[in-house]
């Protein structure tokens, strides 16, 4: 089941919400109910994947208890993580296996998100900063449907205390209003902007015909905004839906395209992945306490692995390495005390991020060279009017996306500062109606497949 579907918005979500609050007096039953609803949500896409999800939950839950109760702590941790990584290797990185092996395995949606959340949990339990909760809480933490398919990557110790809090089982109108407004904003970003930009992107990256410079630049810029609106739209909906249940999950985006450095970008883009990489890879590799060389090496390794987190492909590898190198450059830049004017810093950062997305989006290295070649070698012959000759909704969406990024606000600040007035309710309802009217054309969120 997907957020942008009639059955979710008009069937599943209201039903789950009503029963959840009806079970207010029975917190444990409420938690079980939410977990069952989450499994149902997941099963609606492909029933077979539920077995993997359940097996993953049981395995990690067992390992966390073994870490706490038995002596061989480090061994259990390594074993637990190894099985998680092996699962990922089998289901997600089957392309890297020799030809003929594992190629028919279907990719289970959200596998990266629920696997990495659980790896983080095992490490936290091992370090003693977290401890195993009852199985119902753990099952809900992993399967909690708002975040299950595309994150954010949650931390066990931040989520579980919220599940058993009885006071949270009472509907809170303020949370409901904030939740609905985030759902509306997220759906609008996904359906009105990201989906409208999709044909512009596909025209550049997925067609085999000749590609001119203007079309390539428009297509790659469109992808920069498509990806942001698609993924941040999903996360807005996830946070909004969680608000309806009085559960708060972390925001994953804070206007990343306004960053003036790569470091700042990673504090604003896919924040929970950035934190995961920092806490569970960068710092264990030594972080910034082991000398400049080790720090730079740790950064490059961390972000290269971060690139591979997105999937099995050289383009993801290169994209991650590029970000690692850019961050290293920034570390050195600062070490030598260079400073750029604010606008120049923003422009440089945005240009890098935008070009790096070309690598990220290209389906393979051949397509990457084709698109980059068109972007740069075709500039002298660039004919913008020819590229814009067909009136296309995508251009309006692109313009809207750029203008929205330029605004000094973003989803969470809008939802937080929204006035409880009739006209904000009318505006939200108008946007919701507009997006619901486009539910009939099915489209997937891009991050479902990472």
């Amino acid at each position: 089941m997907f957020f942008n579907s009639y059955e979710f918005l008009f069937g599943f979500l209201p039903a789950v919400c009503i029963v959840y609050f009806l079970l207010a007096r029975f917190p444990r039953a409420g938690t079980w109910w939410m977990a069952a609803a989450s499994f149902f949500f997941y099963a609606k896409y492909r029933l077979d994947d539920v077995a993997l999800l359940i097996a993953s939950i049981l395995w990690n839950y067992l390992i966390s208890h073994l870490i706490v109760r038995r002596g061989w702590k480090r061994g259990w941790l390594v074993l637990g993580i190894a099985v998680n990584l092996l699962t990922l290797a089998v289901f997600k990185y089957s392309k890297f296996w020799p030809a003929g092996m594992l190629h028919n395995l279907a990719f289970p949606l959200g596998i990266s998100f629920f696997t990495f959340s659980q790896i983080a949990y095992l490490v936290d339990v091992y370090k003693g900063v977290d401890h195993p909760a009852p199985i119902r809480d753990y099952a809900l933490f992993v399967s909690f449907f708002p975040h299950l398919l595309s994150g954010p990557i949650l931390r066990h110790k931040e989520m579980v205390p919220q599940f058993d809090s009885a006071i949270r089982r009472r509907p809170i109108p303020r949370y409901f209003a904030r939740g609905f407004s985030l759902i509306v904003i997220g759906l609008a970003k996904k359906i009105l902007i990201a989906d409208t930009l999709a044909p512009l992107v596909a025209r550049t990256f997925d067609s085999a015909g000749p590609l001119d410079a203007a079309t390539a630049w428009i297509g790659t810029t469109a992808y920069t905004f498509q990806l942001y609106n698609d993924f941040s739209g999903y996360c807005d909906i996830a946070v909004g839906v969680s608000f309806l249940f009085n559960i708060r999950i972390p925001e994953n985006f804070r206007a990343p395209y306004r960053s003036t450095s790569i470091q700042e970008f990673w504090r604003r883009w896919h924040i929970t992945l950035g934190k995961f990489l920092r806490n569970y890879i960068y710092i264990p590799l030594g972080g910034n306490r082991a000398g400049l060389f080790r720090q730079c090496l740790a950064v490059v390794i961390t972000f290269t692995l971060g690139g591979l987190w997105h999937g099995a492909g050289w383009t993801f590898f290169i994209w991650g390495a590029l970000h690692g190198i850019a961050l290293t450059t920034q570390v050195l830049w600062r070490r030598f005390g260079f400073r750029l004017p604010h606008f120049a810093a923003w422009a440089l950062t945005f240009a890098f991020v935008d070009l790096a997305w070309v690598v990220f989006r290209a389906p393979n290295l051949q397509a990457l060279t084709r698109v980059l070649g068109a972007m740069f070698s075709g500039i002298p012959r660039m004919q913008l009017p020819a590229a814009l000759s067909s009136v296309y909704p995508g251009y309006f969406a692109l313009l809207a996306a750029i203008l929205l990024v330029a605004l000094p606000t973003y989803s969470f600040t809008i939802a937080r500062r929204m006035k409880p007035a009739w006209w904000t309710a009318a505006l939200a309802a108008m946007v919701l109606t507009t997006v619901v009217l486009r539910f009939s054309s099915v489209s997937y969120f891009l991050y479902y497949f990472f």
Binding site: Y6, P420, A425, M430, V436, S440
Partner: protein, 368 residues
Amino acid sequence: MRPKRVRNYWITWLRWFAAWNLILMGGVIAFVAAVDPYQLYHPVLGGRPRFNVQIQRFLVPGLARTSNYEVALAGTSFLQNIPNSAVRRICGKPAVNLCMSGASIHEEASAMRLALEHKGIKTIIATIDYNSLSGGRLGQVINVNFAFPEYLYDGSPFDKLPYLLSWDSIATSIHAVWGKDTPDENENPDWPWKFPATMKFDASDAVRGINPRNINARYGMTNLELPAMEKAFGDNIFPLLRQYPNVRIHFVFPPYSILVWHDFRQRNQIPVYFAFKKWMVDQAQRFGNFDVIDFQDRADIITNLSLYADIYHSNESVDEQMVRAACEGAQVLNRQNVESRTANLLRLVETTDPVEIVKVAASHNGQN
């Protein structure tokens, strides 16, 4: 006092939000349901249904539910080009045409199910097109670039939001009431799926672009295997035969032109299709509530390319012959004649030369 005051503001906001959504979405639903451009609930407002083959799969459920008929035509385009009045004249009963261009067996069965659920249905005449049996149980949708709208075909009243609450439906509704005619449309409920005027039945047109030595290069049809064909038919049609034993169903093998049989020969598919025919005859014997009408060995039709717009589609006179045979019980394929009729067809294929056929047809130049 202060927290209570803040809380009330947001309750009011939520009420406003719910009210606005009710007004806006309710308004859209009411408008689409009132116009009902796909005639799902009632004849279209203003009485001008716009039949467009591009959205045939969206219009067929409405036709099946809101038309008055005792005979239903179903299947692929081989029977779509015939007026309902002609079927009524031939069979003596009111008729509806639920055919879909390029229908898969799953789509055909979905339309048949709606017809079988219709009060008063007596007879169904359905095509059996080999290509409709590709793609397994759910079939392979040909010629369309959207998902088959299952929600319009099921009986649930709760899953119709994709129809009632969508931009496409608003646009179609506005067009149905106030829009101007377009060349793709047909407003004649008696002949909703009439082939367009641009489609000419002429031998030279029928063979245009055909390489007689590799006929499939023009169409790119996939090769089929007997077990998959039997499974596709059985999974989709057998439940209907069991559930509605009192409705007579005539499955018609349509008369592909002789060049199609040469294509089958070039791809070594003839033994598969003959075996399927024999299997169909056995199933007819087993079930007892359907028969098999075979037009594929009709040399007078399949060798006369002036009846065809392409190597597959023949004109309405041939459609009328198929309907007449079904209603009169003629051309029935059974255990007694299946061997001899398939042998005759094979002989016809073996004794003709596709190169010569194409050469003669190409020189025909509109002399019907």
